[in-house]
Symmetry: C2
Subunit: 334 residues, 2 copies
Amino acid sequence: MADDATASVTDRAHALAEAAVAGDRLALARVLTAVENRTPIAEAALRELYPRAGGAHLVGITGPPGAGKSTLVSALLKEVRAAGRPVAVVAVDPSSPITGGALLGDRVRMQAYAGDRDVFIRSMASRGHAGGLASTTTAAAAVLDAAGFDLVLIETVGTGQSEVEVAAAADTTVVLEAPEMGDEVQAIKAGLLEVADLVVVNKGDKPGAQRTAAQLRAMLAPSVGRSAIAAGRPQPKRPEVMVTTAATGEGVKELLAALDRHRLTARDGDAANARMTRADAQVRAILTERLVDRLGRADLADLRKRLVSDVAGHRLDPYAAADRILEAMTADAS
Amino acid sequence: MADDATASVTDRAHALAEAAVAGDRLALARVLTAVENRTPIAEAALRELYPRAGGAHLVGITGPPGAGKSTLVSALLKEVRAAGRPVAVVAVDPSSPITGGALLGDRVRMQAYAGDRDVFIRSMASRGHAGGLASTTTAAAAVLDAAGFDLVLIETVGTGQSEVEVAAAADTTVVLEAPEMGDEVQAIKAGLLEVADLVVVNKGDKPGAQRTAAQLRAMLAPSVGRSAIAAGRPQPKRPEVMVTTAATGEGVKELLAALDRHRLTARDGDAANARMTRADAQVRAILTERLVDRLGRADLADLRKRLVSDVAGHRLDPYAAADRILEAMTADAS
């Protein structure tokens, strides 16, 4: 019975994975839903799809709310499609309920590409434990990669630490910024700039855009480098600063060209590091999941409850209790 | 050599633990430092001290900044000492550097009891991972308990979730509040009230104090109960609401009497739950530490790096990598 159920999961996952690779978009959507919900189908499908992935260019796009990320992603889509290339978007929605604003935005965006099989847009809710978001997004990108999307844009809001980490784990990370009103560039957090391969000042038609870009170039070039050297850290990358007006498409062709350049030049450097970071986050998340699953198993849960009760009554010290649980976790694995 | 080092840690821990129990305050302070820094001495000492603990009354005192927690704790100390009872204070300092404000406050507070061996005041920095604070504070309380302090006050700022959890894991939890200026009780977060066994409106000489207390009583009595019943949750405890003026000592004797009452009546109910929660947090923290330690061991770190590199190169899927690491963790335990 259990074997039948397992076989059936593997069979269904196999069928979905094969269909997704063959171009069935509904099957692709189902695999992504499984990945998002961490169902058994997801693991089986990813085990099949993962070896077929690795070729796509993963581009993270992040920045503060209001910088125009959605508009820029739409403008990029238009440019990529004009070049005849397939493209997928994973939009990480910081609002927990899946029925939130981002999905609605997706539908509007998707309508523009209703008949276009080479565009695929998908929102992922950023719920779940720390590290889970990074691992889910990476898994989703791998699925899209295996399904033949050579360019995958990962759009996140650069507010939460985990959202920034997701974007930073891409091969190329674009940090978006709106023009500053005041004299100083205040709004960009140092943490955001640190992860940037490309800094884009969007809304280039606004008064302060060119000045903001100039200030960012000045900020990024000498002083960041000096402080890093003084602190003994490795020399940071010097991100290129560009100006776009996503609403009119101005500068977007140049941005795409810069992305393609970065893909080629960074293959062995930063991008290789990003790949290691991504893989490590994935393995760590799965490992944690496995350990938590194991702890939750009926026999271990019972043992744990009994031992914790002994600790609460001071009949056992907490180290001895932890060691006995660890021993049981270990013994049960064989 | 390794055996010698282990023996030496055990011997030193044994000597420190014995001295701490015998009343050596310097030894007690050293054990607490070891607990705070999670050194090997801490584990060995706690293993000895834990079975001797469990008798003390742990009282958590929390509330928003400015409610007068430090002043109230000082007033309580005075009252407890007037009754001839020994008392210890663990103050959880939310500022990370140990040299921060709270320690200075400790020295000032300690001076008032310079010659008094039956008062012990200790700050713990609230650094470290989630769950670590709760487990460190609980361990410190157990050490003070074993050292003969029959009453241990755990003072935390009720701002961070983990600080509130620490206070809530005590046998009796006191939530402190300052009188409200406006018409409505706004400042108290529902989360804070939920954990209270006793609610204390301090600064009772301020105009709004009695009104705030009355509003709190009205808030806590009927509606909280009804909504909980409607939601199918267990009937919540109805915390007693008291008014104190810590600066003059007004109402502090009554507060101490209420604490003693709660200690007796709640021994089998909420306090038993609190003991289970504390024990579970301790065991979980140690278990996590053990697993992280194991992952960091040279052989596993090497294996992990190799596997992650294979995952990054899409030569291996992340599930297979996680399973191989899990297998190695398991095999090495025997």
